[in-house]
Structures are given as C-alpha cells and as structure tokens.
C-alpha cells in the first residue's frame, strides 16, 4: 500500500524545485505571491485577463536562458523544450496569442512597462529597477 502511494505521489509531482532567484514582472499588478497553478494559467493563455480587466500578454524568455530554465522547472516542473512546445500548442489551439520573445532583463523591464498587460520572467536583482506601473509576482 505504501509502495503504491509512493508511486502515485511520484506520478503527480516532480523531484526538485529550482531556486527562486527569479520572479514574474507584470504590468499594472500589485506585487504579491501567486500560486504556481495561477502562474501556469497565465503563461498558457488559460487566464486571458488580469484582475481589473487588462488583457494578458505573455513575454516568453528566449530558449536556453536562465529565465526559461527557471520558468520551466519552477512553475511547470518540466524541461524547457517541453514547456516551449506546450506553449506553441496553446498558440496553435487559438487559446493564446503569439508570445513576445524576451531576450534580457532590459527587454523584460521595457515590455512590462510599455505593454497593456504584459508579463515576463526577470532576475529578482534586476527587478529592482522596474517601473512604478509594474508589480512583481513571486511564487507562493
């Protein structure tokens, strides 16, 4: 029985979580913790509007960046190429628009500042320079 429970728990969970050096920068949102499930829904287009009504615009870290690795491991518990493939699938289904590619912390700061409802992954240290109209969503 115990063995069965251990196998089941393995199927529903992955091994380790990545360290929280990163967070999600979002336009016009208060800084506060969000659940992993809620953050996954934002990046998958399953949540299309922010509280307050602004449309969610996804900024996806470029492939092979620490930000992409963090997003994949910490939020999705999957390898980065699997997450990028799933997000492509969601675009293909029409559930979300084409994500903006974010190559650096500067890109993320500018995207969050200038978009209507953009979100992107940023190094928490770089996030100190964020604009007043953006908030930092940390993982609950």
């Amino acid at each position: 029985m115990r063995r069965a429970a251990a196998v089941l728990s393995l199927l529903f969970a992955s091994a380790a979580s990545a360290a929280d050096n990163f967070a999600i920068l979002a336009r016009a949102q208060p800084s506060k913790p969000w659940s992993e499930a809620a953050l996954r829904n934002l990046f998958l287009g399953a949540t299309r509007s922010w509280p307050g009504g602004r449309q969610v615009e996804v900024g996806l870290p470029a492939a092979d960046t620490p930000e992409m690795e963090w997003l994949a491991k910490r939020i999705f518990h999957l390898p980065a190429r699997e997450v990028r493939t799933i997000i492509r699938q969601r675009v293909f289904t029409g559930e979300m628009g084409e994500p903006r590619s974010i190559a650096s912390a500067e890109d993320c700061l500018a995207f969050a500042r200038e978009s209507r409802g953009g979100l992107c992954v940023i190094d928490q240290a770089a996030a100190a320079g964020r604009a007043a109209n953006t908030g930092l969503l940390t993982v609950q």
Binding site: A37, P79, R81, E82, Q89, F92
Partner: protein, 345 residues
C-alpha cells in the same frame, strides 16, 4: 473547378488575416508537418508505405481583443495528389476570462482531444489521433469541425479551481461523415453543442473533468432518411510533469423517422509517462461498439478494440520522433508499425 476553388480559398483565408488586421496587429505564421513510414505486417504479407502527406500552415493575428486564426492543411487524397483544405478560419473577440465569442469554422469543443491538439501531430503523443476523435476525412465518429458560432469562458469556483463552459451553434453535420457543411446547410435545424469542464490543479499538474451534449440533425441522402443525432460524452484528463492521462467516452444515438434508435458507444484511454530527456512511452486502449446490424451513418464500420503502444522522443522544441505499433485486437489481422518524424517551426 473544385480543386481550383479550394486553392483560392486557402490563399484567401491566409490573405484575409493580413488584410483584416490593422497595421499594429501581431501576426504569426507557423508550419507543421510530419513524415511517416508504415509497415503493415501479418502472417502472410508485409507491406511498407512512406508518406509525407500533411503540411499545415497556421496563421494568426491579434489586435487588442480581436484575434483571427487560419489553418490550411495540404493533404494527400485518394488520388495521391496534394490538395489544400481550410481546416480552421475563425475570428474571436475576448471580453474577458468569463466570455470569448468566436465565429467561423473551428474545431468543436467535444471532449478533450479535439480542440487540444488540432492537426499538428508533433503535439500529441501518438502518430494518429485515437479513432473515435479522428477528423471527418479520417473516419472519426465525432463531428470534428463546425461552421457557426462559439462562446466560451471560465468562472472561478474555488482557489485555482475553475469551471469552463463552451457553447456552439452551427450548421448541421454533413450528410455523410466525411463532409463538413461549410455553407449552404440544407436543414433549417442547427447543431447545438455544450461542454462543461472543471479545471483544477492536482499535484504539480492540472486535472480536467468534463461532460458534453450535442443535438443535431443530419440531412438525408439517397437510400437513407434524415437522421437525428444526440451525442453525450465524458472526459477526464490529467496533464502533469510525469503523467499524461486522457480518457474520453461517448454515446452517439442516431434516430430515424420511424422511431428506430441506433446507439454507438466509443471511448479510449491514453496514458503517457514522461521519462528524463523528454522520452515518453505511451499506450492507448480504445473500444468502439456499433449497434447490431450497424449504424445508418457510420456505414462500413464494425465494432472493434484497438491497442496502441509507442514512444515519443521530443528531442528539440516542437520536434519529435515517434515509434509505434497498433493492432485491432478483435480481428488479430496484422500489426501496423509506424515511425514518424513530426515537427513545427
């Protein structure tokens, strides 16, 4: 003439996206394709086929709350020639999480598979969809496409738990199962489809549990009267870091004017276990039960149990190699081995 019209139709469908959106709109163009080798092996015969019979062009554009989407698939028909097929052409307006409305030709919100995977094989585990949910021209049992109106939204019902609804009103189902009524519906009655689905985080993944109801009429053809169609479905899905589980079941009832009902029951379970390096072995067990004496709409079909086992290796973003074996367990005649290279860019 028909082929020429279809060629212009796909050009128009892609062009419409470019023309209809304002200059500031975000446009995206993607392509998906797969190449396959099929080895059909039985006790007295072995036959090998190669195919590269699908090239999928996907274009989408959005401006503010409006989204346009087009999917054109170039497919090889029975004559061994490629022909374009407009699979999706839809416009949507997003009011918010609680309501999005769409119109055009779209994949029906029936079960989970049909509007989760579409035509790009790279995203699904098996090389082909389970038989029950295949597209109209591949012998599927559900209406995979509707032309009409669609509305969907999500309502929170608890912490991270949401109820998703989908409602569709569309042209009636084609008079034969390989036809989609793109225009000129002969019937006054329209098809109605409703889906309710609960979405909840479970562990590090998401679980979906939903139900469907379709009410429809099917126009008569020579030798067969008009039919009513009622379809009820349930689906349960888990998508997590290590486990992918999709189960769908359907009761499809066709009624003729004499009061005779013909019930088909069909369903499948697909299980995939994600291993390191993005290698996912999977298995599918599927059962299709047709009424004794057959169904007037699913002609030429027999009841069957199908078993499939395979492995997918996602070795780069949206690029996969799959090896698969499938077999009808009732007849025991032959095993189909398939190797597939599927990709998108």
């Amino acid at each position: 003439m028909v082929a020429r019209t279809r060629k212009w139709l796909w050009v128009a469908s892609l062009g419409s996206i470019a023309l209809a959106l304002p200059a500031r709109a975000d446009l995206a163009l993607h392509a998906f394709a797969d190449v396959n080798a099929h080895l059909n092996h039985s006790s007295d015969h072995t036959h090998l086929d190669f195919d590269s019979n699908r090239f999928d062009l996907f274009a989408s554009g959005s401006h503010d709350r409006v989204t346009l989407l087009s999917e054109v698939v170039f497919e090889v028909g029975g004559n061994n020639e490629f022909a374009p097929d407009v699979e999706r052409l839809q416009i949507s307006y997003n009011f918010g999480d609680y309501l999005r409305v769409s119109a055009g030709r779209f994949h029906t919100s029936i079960g989970y598979y049909n509007d989760a995977f579409h035509h790009g094989a790279v995203f699904q585990l098996p090389t082909e969809r389970p038989r029950t949910v295949r597209f109209e021209d591949d012998g599927g049992l559900i209406p995979a496409h509707f032309v009409g109106f669609h509305a969907d939204g999500r309502v929170p019902v608890g912490t991270d738990v949401r109820l998703r609804y989908d409602v569709e009103v569309a042209n009636s189902r084609g008079p034969t199962r390989d036809v989609v009524v793109n225009a000129f519906d002969r019937l006054d009655a329209k098809a109605f489809n409703g889906r309710l689905r609960l979405e909840a985080p479970v562990g590090e993944g998401t679980a979906f549990v939903g139900v469907n109801a379709v009410f429809d009429k099917i126009a008569d053809i020579a030798g067969r009267p008009e039919l009513s169609e009622r379809m009820f479905g349930v689906h349960a899905v888990y998508q997590g870091p290590l486990l992918s589980l999709i189960a769908e079941g359907y009761l499809i009832r066709h009624g003729d004017p004499s009061g005779n009902d013909f019930d088909t029951r069909a369903g499948f379970v697909e299980v995939g276990i994600r291993l390191p390096e993005d290698v996912t072995p999977y298995a599918i067990l599927e059962r299709i039960d047709l009424p004794a004496g057959g169904d007037p709409y699913f002609t030429g079909e027999g009841s069957q149990t199908l078993g499939t086992a395979g492995v997918r290796w996602l070795f780069a973003e949206a690029t996969a190699v799959k090896l698969e074996a499938s077999r009808s367990m009732d007849t025991g005649v032959g095993t189909l081995f398939t190797a597939q290279f599927a990709f998108g860019f």
